[in-house]
Symmetry: C4
Amino acid sequence: MDDRTPGPAGEQVGKGRVEALSDGVFAIVVTLLVLEIKVPHVQAHDSIASLGHALLALAPKFVSWVISFVTVCVIWLNHHRLFTLIGRLDNGLFWRNANLLLWTSFIPFPTALMGDYPGNRLAVSFYGLVMCLMALGFVALRWHMHRHPDLIQQGVDRGAFRSGTRSSILLGPVAYASGAILAWLSTPAAFICFAAIAASFVRPREPGTRRAAGA
Amino acid sequence: MDDRTPGPAGEQVGKGRVEALSDGVFAIVVTLLVLEIKVPHVQAHDSIASLGHALLALAPKFVSWVISFVTVCVIWLNHHRLFTLIGRLDNGLFWRNANLLLWTSFIPFPTALMGDYPGNRLAVSFYGLVMCLMALGFVALRWHMHRHPDLIQQGVDRGAFRSGTRSSILLGPVAYASGAILAWLSTPAAFICFAAIAASFVRPREPGTRRAAGA
Amino acid sequence: MDDRTPGPAGEQVGKGRVEALSDGVFAIVVTLLVLEIKVPHVQAHDSIASLGHALLALAPKFVSWVISFVTVCVIWLNHHRLFTLIGRLDNGLFWRNANLLLWTSFIPFPTALMGDYPGNRLAVSFYGLVMCLMALGFVALRWHMHRHPDLIQQGVDRGAFRSGTRSSILLGPVAYASGAILAWLSTPAAFICFAAIAASFVRPREPGTRRAAGA
Amino acid sequence: MDDRTPGPAGEQVGKGRVEALSDGVFAIVVTLLVLEIKVPHVQAHDSIASLGHALLALAPKFVSWVISFVTVCVIWLNHHRLFTLIGRLDNGLFWRNANLLLWTSFIPFPTALMGDYPGNRLAVSFYGLVMCLMALGFVALRWHMHRHPDLIQQGVDRGAFRSGTRSSILLGPVAYASGAILAWLSTPAAFICFAAIAASFVRPREPGTRRAAGA
């Protein structure tokens, strides 16, 4: 299974194919999420009231699904932006990216768990914990690039990259850890926290204006 | 998880990668649909009559599956055509596209629901409602392009785009809303309505002839 | 949902994106097939004999899976070869390709059915019927190209294409229909027939030699 | 279904499309793995202790999942590296690649089996056997290239390729066969063996340094 013969160009890992693998995983995860919502079983097949109640009982699953769907879109967007900064991939960057894909591909499980047990503090906290580990995956990618600047695309502003790395540490993992802790006080508050984290990435940003002011 | 460091080209969201993500979701949805049709359990393993009856009982699931399969192909086709009109993507277009993917990736659930409860008015109406929300996703994409004409590819006829936007409002959401209402009068009529909407997009159109007459 | 605004290049359906959609469906189908083989439930968790018997009882599912896996690879290969002959896609070719994808994406169902009921003539015959309809999908694609030669890539030998169309009618649908009929006489014979059809496409063909002799 | 009409370029099988099919299968397998971990059913919905115990009972499934996730990433990486050495694909290489994809797409089954029966020697040994067959798939690919050097990309060092083929025979299949045998002595030792094989491919390799010393 081992293949260490040097290729003609001595290339380590092709950035395009890693991007394609990651995009494939994101597209599959985002689409698989809905498979965890099972069609309810109702005895009276034609009863509108029975089926209506059964669908309403699925409400926490629908909410979990939408939060995770938006979150995976945010992951895709951040991954896409981060990869425009990468000039070439080494082994370390490949495996840090694989670590991010591991946690991202795991998302259907905590989503289904939180949807099945919306009032269970452990279930809701577990969701925050997995998302925190996923967000740490982004920090690990940026940290490796910070330590190996030769992997960064030429022409990228190093100061802006450093401040982006700092804010990536503060925002993602800290926000999700807070949600995971909040779940032990109030599960609805944690739901709102997870939704708010995802929503904070959706707001429109005009090209240039905010960026000039912010970064 | 945040990544706002400007890239070398200051690029917002790459159109090619958004197209690839969307294509991935469409391909997965269209293939997952069949997973909702479970192999029937029959006691007498070698009985042709028992298995035959069990397969016939799955008829509503097969019909739902074919309608949804064709509908997702139509979504793919319209998405493909709409994206040839897009010059570049901003944040608003990305998230309106994500909204379309959300409803498209949801399709396996209402398909399975309608297949399991073909005589339940709520189940059949729910299918029409989800498709209506999906069709509104296309309207939202076009509306954003209409308000931000700089996102439209150069050389696209603005008059034809406007009339296309108007017809996209009338055709998709109105047709599916009608089907959703029709389900409360007759569920078979709603099935026929959903099939007819999908089929209306399949008819052959010669390049040039009909278009010149129609648009 | 409608989008009939002519694009800048007046392009109907992009061949590259249809190829990507089809490849996506083939890759997903080939990978989903294994999901129909469920891990057996055994009371005595550490009993090697119990688990061994349970795994042996899955033998028909393993055989069905391998036959369908090879068949989907053959479909991919034939699709790939056929698309190298296509110069451009019109609406008719798009929907005939969608019809082929419909039957291909359906394959996990008859595969699981045949694996669950290997001795039931209806189940085994149903598998042959679905494969026959899939093979007719290839005939429909070729027939449309035959009637619209402007869709065929320039430089393709028309005589070879015509003889290929004739053999595609004889080989695929007729072979699978024979298997479907054979199932009513002997289910093991039908299994062998389906395996032989797939295997007949796997044999090595040297570039040039056999082709020169055969076509 | 047959298509033997020679294309305009007389091309056998396009390397790019085989790579895309393989990447699709790898991305789907790596993402499907988590679907085998089902959300546990707990009577007392809000009981943290009950859900906690149920999640801890899933520990062997989580461990199996991580081992298989890393293994599929290693398969992807080795496949990627091997394909940079391939100049063109013939029929034999296509089907040897399909054989590798067959075993790779099968991985979710032995992973779930080992996760459900972590103390059953047959289940753990079965995992090693499947991985051994997958690793033999790589040997078969290299062996075919060794026998048909015209398929190898120009500029590849033949001596290094030969030594890579020799080590691919020794490392992959022999290591997994050892793990499969070890399972009959101690299942935890086999788990550690499978994890160690995957981990041995993850270690960072600086471009140039180790390679110069090793190969």
